[in-house]
Symmetry: none
Subunit: 210 residues, 4 copies
DNA sequence: AATGAATGAGGCTTCATTCAT
DNA sequence: AATGAATGAAGCCTCATTCAT
C-alpha cells in the first residue's frame, strides 16, 4: 500500500500538473486572453469547475504554468557548469545539449514564446521569470564566456552584450517552432540548425590564430 | 486652393494610418485579444464608432496593421542587393543598416513580436506575412550567402539552414525589445548588440585562412 | 415660369413623398426596427443627413408613412357610399373596387401589414390609424350592411361583428401579399380570390329566399 | 427516487420551453428586432447569459419559438379529418374548434402575426413554417372542400383559391387580436365573430337549393 | 439644401467565476 | 472531490443622430 498509493490519490496529486500541461499547450497556441478555461478543462478531461479547485483564477493558472516550467533546467545547467573541466566551447555545447533535452523537445519549449507574448500583461510573472530563468541563464552563459576568455580560448568580448547575442539563436529557434513554423511550412531541422549555429559560434568566438 | 484640399478630406485620407498606428502600438503591447478597440480609438483620438468607418472588424484592423507594416523595407533590401558591387559581408552590413533604419527604430519594430504571438489565431494573415515578408527576406539573405560562397569569401554552408541562423539574432533583438526589455531592466544597447553580432558573424562566415 | 416651377423647386417639394415611399417599402419588407435609415436614404437616392431635413427622427418618418398612406381612399369610399343608389351588394362591390384600385395595387398595400406588426410599438400612430382609417372604414362597411338589412336585401346580422368578418378576407389578402407570399411561392391571384370571396359573401349575406 | 429526479435536472429540461414562451410573448408584442434578449431573460426569470446555454443566438431562439409552436394542432386536425364521418360542414366546424382550443386561446395565437411580420427577415424559418404549417393546413381545408363538393353538399368552387378565402377570417382574427386589438379598444368577441363567420360560410358554400 | 464623417448609446454575445448538488 | 448550470461584467459592433463643410 505504501508502495502503491491509491489511484485516486495518485490522480489527485497529479491533477495540478495535468491541468498546467493542458493550459500550457493552449496558452502557447492561442495566447492567454484567447484561451478559454473551458477548453483547458476539456483538454485535461475535467470540468470547468474543477480548475477552480486547484487554481484561484485564470491568472493564477498562468503563473503556475510559467513557474513549473523551466527552472529545473537552469539548475542542471549550473551544476554542469560547476563540474565542467576542460575546453570551454565544449562546455557551451553541453549546456546546449542539456537545454535542448530538458526544454527543446518538451512541451516547455513553448514557454519563451508565451512569455514574450504576455510579458506586458503580467508584470509580476515577468519579474519572476526574469529573476529565476533569464538572470540565471544569462549568468551561466556569461560565466562560460568569461571562463573562455580567461583561459585564452575566446577572444575578448563585451560580455554583457555577447551573452544576448549568443543566446538569441537558441531562443529564436524555440520561439519560431512554437509560432509560425507550426502554421506555415518552413519546418526547420533543429539538429542542423543547432549544428550550423554552434559551428558559427565556435569560429566567431575563437581567439584569432596568429 | 489646390494647396488646401478641405481639412475634412485631408483628415479622411490620413485616418486609416493614424488608426493602424494606434492599433499597432496596443496590439504589440497587449496582444490582439487583450486590446480593446475603445483604447485603440482613444489613442488615435477618435470615438469607437469611427474605427468602423475604416475597418470592418477588429480582425480587419489587425490585417491592415500587418500589411501596411513592413513590405517597403523588403523591397528596399532587394534593390540594395541588386545594386551592390564588391565585398559580400559589406552587403550584409548594408542590408542590416537598411533594416534597422526602416524597422528597428520605428513603431514597426513590434510587428515580429506581434506575428509570433498571433500566428496561430490568424492563419490567413500569417500566410500573407509569410509570403510577402519572410519568404522574400529569406531570399535576400540566402542570395547574399550564396554570393559570398561563390566569390570565395564565405566558407561552404548549408544555405537554407544558415539563413535562419543568420537572421535569428536580428529578429530576436526586435522581439526582445518589444517584450521583456520593456518591462524589466535589461535595456540592451542595440548598437553594441548589432556590432558584436556582426563581428561574430564575419568571423563565423569567413573562409578559413590558409 | 409659373407653369414650370424650377426643377429644383419641384424636386424639393417632391422630396418628402419620395422619402416616405422609400421608407414604406423598406418598413413593410423588414419591419421598422430592422430598417436602417441609411438604406431608406439610399433607396431614395439621397444621403443619410438629408432625411433629417424633412423628418425629425425615424419615428417621425414612420408616422408620416402611415399618415400619407391611406386616408384618401377612405374619403373616396365615403363619397361613393353617399352617391350610391340601388342594390346594396353592388355598393359593396364598388367600395371594394375602389379600395383595390387605390391601395391593393399600389405600394400602400403594405400598410396594413406594417400597422399590424408595429401597432404595439407606436401607440400614438396606432391611435391615429385607428381613428382615421379603421373607424371610418368600419363605419362604411357598417353603414352598407345596415342599408342592405333595411332594404331587405341582407338577412339580419349583428352588425358590429359582421363588419370585422366582412373586412377580414380583404385585409388578409393585403397582408398575405406583403409577407409570406413574397418569399414563398403561393402566389394567390387577387382577381380570382376577390371574385370567390364576393361570391361567398353575396350568398352568405343574402336573405333566405322563401 | 425515481419519482424525484434532481430539481436541477427537472429545471434544466423545463428551461427551453420556459424561455421560448417568454420569447414568444415579447416577439409577438414588439417584433423580433425590437425585443431585447435581456427582457426575454427577465421575463423567464433568468439572466441574460442563461439564454445562451440553450440557444446559440437570438435567431436560433426565434426558430425554436416558431418550430415548437403550432405543428401539434395541424397533426390533430389531420387526425380529426381522417376519422370524420358524415356532414362536411360539421367537419369544418370541428377543425375550427380544435384550432381554436389548441391555438386561439393559447399564447401560440400570436405566431401568425409574428410570422407575417418577420417572414422576409427569416427566409429559412419561413420556409419551414410554410412546409410544416401552411401547406398542411391548406391541405386539410382543401380536402374538406373537395369532400363537400364530392358529396354534393357544397357548390362547385375553384378549390385552390377557396382555401385561402376560407382560412382568411380565422387567420385575421388571430392576427387582429395579437396586434391592434391589444392597443385600441375594439375588443372583438371571438365567439360571436366565429359564429357569424361560420354562418356566413355555411350559407356561402351551400349548394343552391333547387 | 445637401453631404457624409463622426459620435456614443445600446444590444448581442462571450466567458471567467460561483455555487448548489 | 467533482460537476455544470447559472451569472453578469465586459467587449465587439450597429446605427440613429448630429454638425462642420
Amino acid at each position: 500500500m505504501s508502495e502503491h498509493p491509491s489511484p485516486r490519490k495518485r490522480r489527485k496529486e497529479a491533477r495540478p500538473s495535468e491541468l498546467t500541461a493542458a493550459a500550457l499547450a493552449l496558452f502557447v497556441e492561442r495566447g492567454f486572453a484567447a484561451t478559454r478555461l473551458e477548453d483547458v478543462a476539456a483538454r485535461a478531461g475535467v470540468s470547468k469547475g474543477t480548475l477552480y479547485l486547484y487554481f484561484d483564477s485564470k491568472e493564477a493558472l498562468f503563473k503556475a504554468v510559467i513557474q513549473e516550467g523551466i527552472m529545473p533546467v537552469v539548475t542542471e545547467g549550473e551544476s554542469i557548469m560547476a563540474q565542467h573541466d576542460g575546453d570551454t566551447f565544449e562546455l557551451l555545447g553541453r549546456l546546449l545539449e542539456n537545454l535542448w533535452a530538458g526544454i527543446g523537445e518538451t512541451p516547455f519549449a513553448g514557454i519563451p514564446k508565451l512569455m514574450v507574448a504576455e510579458a506586458h500583461n503580467f508584470p509580476e510573472v515577468t519579474q519572476f521569470y526574469y529573476e529565476n530563468v533569464i538572470r540565471r541563464g544569462r549568468g551561466l552563459v556569461g560565466a562560460a564566456l568569461e571562463r573562455g576568455m580567461a583561459r585564452g580560448e575566446f577572444r575578448s568580448l563585451p560580455v554583457d552584450t555577447a551573452i544576448d547575442v549568443v543566446i538569441a539563436p537558441i531562443l529564436m529557434l524555440l520561439i519560431w517552432r512554437a509560432s509560425l513554423a507550426r502554421c506555415q511550412g518552413s519546418p526547420v531541422d533543429p539538429g542542423e540548425y543547432l549544428a550550423v549555429y554552434m559551428d558559427l559560434l565556435r569560429r566567431g568566438l575563437q581567439r584569432s590564430q596568429v
